[in-house]
Symmetry: C2
Subunit: 318 residues, 2 copies
């Protein structure tokens, strides 16, 4: 079987050269274990802080059970499992869950819009941002795995949605397929672009970005604004700790939340049901950035960690 | 009549020398106006950012109506009015409100525990901190006008209350008359003292203090903690903007709120009723730091802005 291992600890944002592809023998199954042939591997930003030298990075995948020593899991089943960046993995049968997506929705959605990134967006939307009809919602990283779902949920709830993007291609994608009202560019002109896009201030902000973006947004909050801190992308890459100006929180009487998806597991059934129906009906686009082959996982990860992905990053392994 | 005016703009924390006491003629009343003889003047930190050269600082006071050209206000009434730092003031009759405190409670409580500082504490308690029985609540500036009420409300609600103080005298006051479970000292040893006082982390924090205190508290939040940013004392005095580490908010999945008392005016009747009853019954101490004479207002203000007051600062004017 093939695995990706970390060959050297990244200095700042990871590069493909920080990883090696290695071939190794398949371990035998112990009692209660199952063997998974990985089909689609999910790449996620949180992995950046879990990288250890010579180890296989963690990762959730959809795969087929090809061998089972666990009475509860049958060979042939399609399951979600924590496999790491491998073509094949042996895991405890009790740790896998059957893939469940609505009819007509690709199974890889269980890693994206119907998986952890989608649940993150759903929890931010219903528990932190709570936009009212006509409210102005700003989404950092508007076209990413989390942001693309959060932005669409805000739009479907009747909000005016402004997406922050890093390129003109992403701006077109945001206002096109994803239905954002406006897309604004990260960088030196952000304050002016955002002020023009949000003349009455920002009612809700999902932070998935860097310090400079956060600083600009915090100064343009409307009174009573809600902020959900979800991804501290530059911090994952080793930049200085992200900080919020307390005076801006006070001036806006803002409500700031820290979001960790594991706290919102109780929302998962509702999330899959609601977002699944929206994908089925075509109202919500499950945006995916797909790469063919495990050997491309390092490249895909490096692109994601420097903000060059569009949508949920998935590696097709077999 | 006597007034205090700003003689020079303070450099950092104000000093008594930044003010002058001046004598001036009493203006005549116009239609709709009333003349107030000030009895008790309230000094508040927000005034620091309103100081203008040669002007009388703003301030709420309790005073007697001594002359009225307003049919709705009778001479002899005791009212709350925005008089500024004066012995006597002419104000619109429509802007004054009758003082209302429960029987047996001194009227000056309407400037403190039953006034704006008390409402600030009450709003922080019921809307932001919301401590459950047994929760650990930390109050910055535990013995100040806002903190002393907030800490007692938390205690009365069944929380374990830890007060941050600046001196050993205040520590005794906090754990004595105010009923805090523990008092800890601001400064270099705060992190260790706080860790010992809050072994299970901090569930709720009312921030009335400086950057260094905020930094220490934010690293010791329990999961699900609630933080209310209420007073940014060092910032009022011109220090660098207070900032919050976003990673600490995220790690604790904290909920951070900015508190501006004017947003919570709807709570005022409930606040006066509840806190008034607690003062009458002796369960809550309305702590006051009283100064005799308008000439002491600059000294009292300087002491308050450097954290040397205990309780609500009131100047007895007549």
């Amino acid at each position: 079987m093939l695995s990706v291992v970390l060959s050297r600890v990244p200095d700042g944002a990871p590069t493909p050269e920080d990883f090696d592809l290695v071939e190794s023998a398949c371990p035998a199954l112990a009692e209660g274990e199952v063997r998974i042939a990985v089909r689609s591997l999910s790449l996620d930003p949180y992995v950046r802080s879990s990288l250890r030298p010579s180890e296989v990075p963690p990762g959730r995948a959809i795969g087929e059970v090809v061998e089972s020593c666990c009475p509860e899991v049958e060979a042939g089943q399609l399951v979600l499992a924590e496999t790491g960046w491998r073509s094949s993995a042996v895991v405890a049968g009790s740790s896998v869950t059957p893939v469940s997506v609505p009819p007509g929705v690709p199974s890889s959605a269980a890693l994206g819009a119907l998986g952890m990134p989608g649940l993150t967006a759903y929890a931010a939307h219903v528990r932190h941002l709570r936009p009212r009809f006509g409210a102005t919602v700003v989404i950092g990283s508007a076209t990413g795995g989390v942001g693309s779902v959060a932005g669409q949920l805000a739009r479907i709830s009747g909000a005016r949605v402004v997406g922050i993007v890093g390129s003109s291609e992403k701006a077109s994608l945001a206002t096109g397929r994803l239905g954002y009202d406006v897309a604004v560019r990260r960088g030196g002109g952000l304050a002016d672009e955002l002020r023009a896009a949000c003349p009455d201030g920002i009612d809700a902000y999902l932070h998935l970005g860097d310090q400079a973006t956060l600083d600009v947004v915090m100064e343009q909050l409307a009174v009573g604004a809600r902020v959900s801190l979800c991804g501290l992308m530059d911090q994952y890459n080793g930049a200085a700790p992200t900080r919020l100006r307390a005076g801006a929180v006070l001036a806006a009487r803002a409500e700031v939340h820290g979001l960790v998806v594991y706290d919102h597991a109780d929302l998962a059934p509702e999330h899959v049901q609601q977002v699944g129906a929206l994908i089925s009906s075509g109202e919500l686009v499950a945006l995916e950035d797909r790469y063919a082959g495990l050997d491309l996982a390092p490249l895909a990860f490096a692109r994601m960690m420097s903000g060059r992905n569009v949508g949920k990053v998935v590696v097709d392994v077999s």
